[in-house]
Amino acid sequence: MKSIEQIMRHDHERLDVLLEAGAKAVRKGLWHEAADLLQRFRHGMVDGHMMVEETMLFPAFEAREGNDDLPLTALLRKGHRDLRVFFLEMEEAIGARDAEEYSALLSTVQAILKHHDAKEEKELYPHLAEALSDQGQLAGQTILSRQETAALPGRSQKFDV
């Protein structure tokens, strides 16, 4: 069984691939495919990855540190709030078939994710197994089950990136 650290790192990579696949669809003018890929990316990110972090991982890390107002988790939560708005704006850009606006938003989101993911992987994830009473089994299973949902038949995980 993979560790919670490995599962969360892999989820970052999986979501990056989905985001890039959507970007490629926009560049080709395949707007319906782009909308579908963005929806899957957003679902995986907001309803899976962020949800698990905000409800399970951050609180466990804060409890381990004995402080529920940590600069690290406060910054990461703020990053999530910003990203949620950017995802909505990307969806609107696709709806308006505005490739220029989408491209600018994509560049911003990828830059945010680069900083955000690196911070999580360096400062948070290595401590999770110790912080969580079950070493992160439940959180890991939740993430993996979301990944399986995203890969249901007819929703191929293979992207021509």
Binding site: P71, D82, V85, A111, H115
Partner: protein, 148 residues
């Protein structure tokens, strides 16, 4: 001028208690910028993208995106409205925000859809300053004035 951990916070402005300050203008528009502690947390800004004049923004959406070497983020508008002016100087020199966040480095001027309730979700005065001091403490920010 209130100061905490070296961060300046004018008491007469309105704040979203996160990154943004709002100043009511005589013509009914509202000027938006980012706070001194927010610019300090962001680091030296290298890129600014501000939405075009004439763009309508819903409450909570971004009027601008700022980027430094270590941080990228949006500047949300606390109310819905139309962008009537943007600070073109920031597009050329976003570092101005690190130098004069409440003056020359305003970001945009927005005409609110509902002027009666545009400031409902922002705070001012002593309540705002106390909340901003808690923000500074939470994020462990120390402001330093940029010389140029």
């Amino acid at each position: 001028m209130n100061e905490y951990h070296g961060c300046e916070m004018p008491e007469d402005l309105f704040y979203d208690l996160d990154y943004v300050w709002v100043r009511p203008e005589a013509d009914g528009t509202l000027t938006i910028g980012v706070t001194d502690p927010a610019q300090a947390l962001s680091g030296r800004l290298q890129n600014a993208r501000i939405k075009k004049v004439g763009t309508h923004v819903d409450a909570g959406r971004h009027v601008a995106t700022l980027e430094s070497g270590k941080w990228v983020g949006g500047v949300p508008v606390p109310f819905a409205g139309m962008i009537v002016a943007r600070n073109e100087a920031l597009l050329e020199n976003p570092h101005l925000i690190n130098i004069d966040p409440y003056g020359d480095a305003w970001i945009a001027r927005v005409k609110p859809d509902d002027s009666q309730h545009a400031l409902d979700d922002v705070k001012t005065g002593a309540e705002a300053i106390a909340a901003l001091e808690a923000w500074i403490k939470r994020y462990d920010v120390q402001c330093m004035r940029c010389p140029d």
